[in-house]
Amino acid sequence: MSELAVQVDRLTKRFGDFTAVDGISFEVRPGEVVGYLGPNGSGKTTTIRMLLGLLRPTAGRAEVLGFDVERQAEAIRPLVGYMSQKFALYDELTMAENLEFYAGIYGVPKGERRGRQQAVMDLVGLNGLGDARAGQMSGGWRQRLALAIALVHRPQLLFLDEPTSGVDPVARRIFWNTIDKLADDGATVFVSTHYMDEAEYCGRLGIMNGGRLLALDTPAALKRDTLPGPTWNLIVDRLIPALDALESLPGVFQVGLRGDHLHAITLAGEHSQHTLQSSLEGMGFSVEVESTDPTLEDVFMALAGDKAPSLD
């Protein structure tokens, strides 16, 4: 019925009296790359599992590729690729055998399997490693194999749950270039991640907290609309004491580590480079303050951090 890749309407999941997903609604259009962010336990995996028909919603409904997730789950699964957070590989099998096994499960026709398997191994940079036993591969290599498996049946819609967790920085970038290619070819991608640099690659981002979807927008719009004020880098000699000192300054919304220096969000109109500099110097720190552009990490902290407006 719908032209949408994913349509979610007041979807809810309760475990006993605990609400893991709390009445979320959103849409994903074909060809979009949508990132799904949120603190640990905020309901991302639970959402994805409901969309795949692996978990029954307590209330609300969802359609994936026009099929109802509760009544038509069997129709959805062959059309989508799913990479789960802790993907179960068969440790005793080789990389190639694992892929072969899943190609079979996903119903890739026998005659096409060999070529298809080769193609996805190439795509994720695993060519030549087919004979290695999966159990002996490091975390990052296992992740790549899991992605290859999710792609082997040419799905038009991909659900990737923290696909790059534990993957090295170069491999992560290659991974995202791959996602880029898939999206260029028309695939729709729904991907959760805790890496804010990866979130930048997404067309739109959903931000979950406590089971609720707090925002869903482009990275640029989120950076423009969700912060309470300007952001600053502070290069300072004693990190933790300076962090504690800054946190106690009026008009300072949030302070954190950023690389080897500190980063702060202040409330609109409350601080300038000069006031921050002189306040800290007054407390005996030697510090250099720079105004910065907001980042998605700032957005995340502002929406889901401990200073974020309470949900109730």
Binding site: G139, G140, W141, S165, V167, P169, D260
Partner: protein, 321 residues
Amino acid sequence: MALLEAIGLTKRFGSLVAVDDVSLVVQPGEAYGLVGPDGAGKTTVMRLLVGALSLDAGSVAILGQDLARHPEQARSSVGYLPQRFSLYHDLTVGENLAFFGSVRGIDRKTLTGRAAELLAFVGLTGFENRLAGVLSGGMKQKLGLACALVHRPSLLLLDEPTSGVDPITRQDFWQLIIRLLGDGAGVVVSTPYMDEAIRCSILGFMAAGRILTTGAPRSLLAPLAGRVLELRAEPRALAHQLCQADPDVEDVAQFGELLHLRLRGAAVFSGLQDGQATQLRLSSALAAGGVQVLGLRAIAPSLEDVFIATLQATALEARHE
């Protein structure tokens, strides 16, 4: 006395040399960061340091205690968080912590107070009675960390402790690490996050079982100063191709919409100030080749640039050997 002194660690699996003559020393207050590509051998080093694997050569001393000869004493001051931490899925959060505490010989009374403190620190207060098996991925990781800290170890071995951990908890986690370092603890940590690596006192870049370079983050970044350019250009594929072929460009990498170029050392230091001349020349060469340059500027090198440059240099050497 050094907290950790590991000399010449070597480990073979059949014909594969997984760890090849690796040495590292950690003093109180220091964090040693192990970074490197997937499969470099970081986890194997961690497992050798904690004695979970036996050494083929080399030695490990923790607070002066030799790990091979006095494993009990050496290990008593170590907290280890493996990459794939095994919790008891049929025990609750609180029971898991109690279990790991009792293994470490902590009495029940001490444990009760400490458990509350640790759970608050990792953000799991209120989840004491939930079964570990139904925690979210990141929550399991946090519980693992709490278990590794339960006996207040002075040396922490953390194997990708923040993989799968959300940015807020990552903040809290590192703030705690820095506080522990301030109290004189020492840490060996592996991480795929370059913004975490830069906080370490010393970094070791590992690949193929060896430590390729080691040093303070600042000193590792220094050789790349002025040599990394950010290019925004259309069409990107053509720009990529032209840059790759340029004699002054050592490497091109795609970062989403942007290209990062690494200039050869000579292109910067023998030219006019700060490689300005090279930038101008590159700009016009690209334009002449049919590329529209929307922006080209020098940016501060990141550890990721160091990471890539180190790997490429080693690959080249290997080819010339």
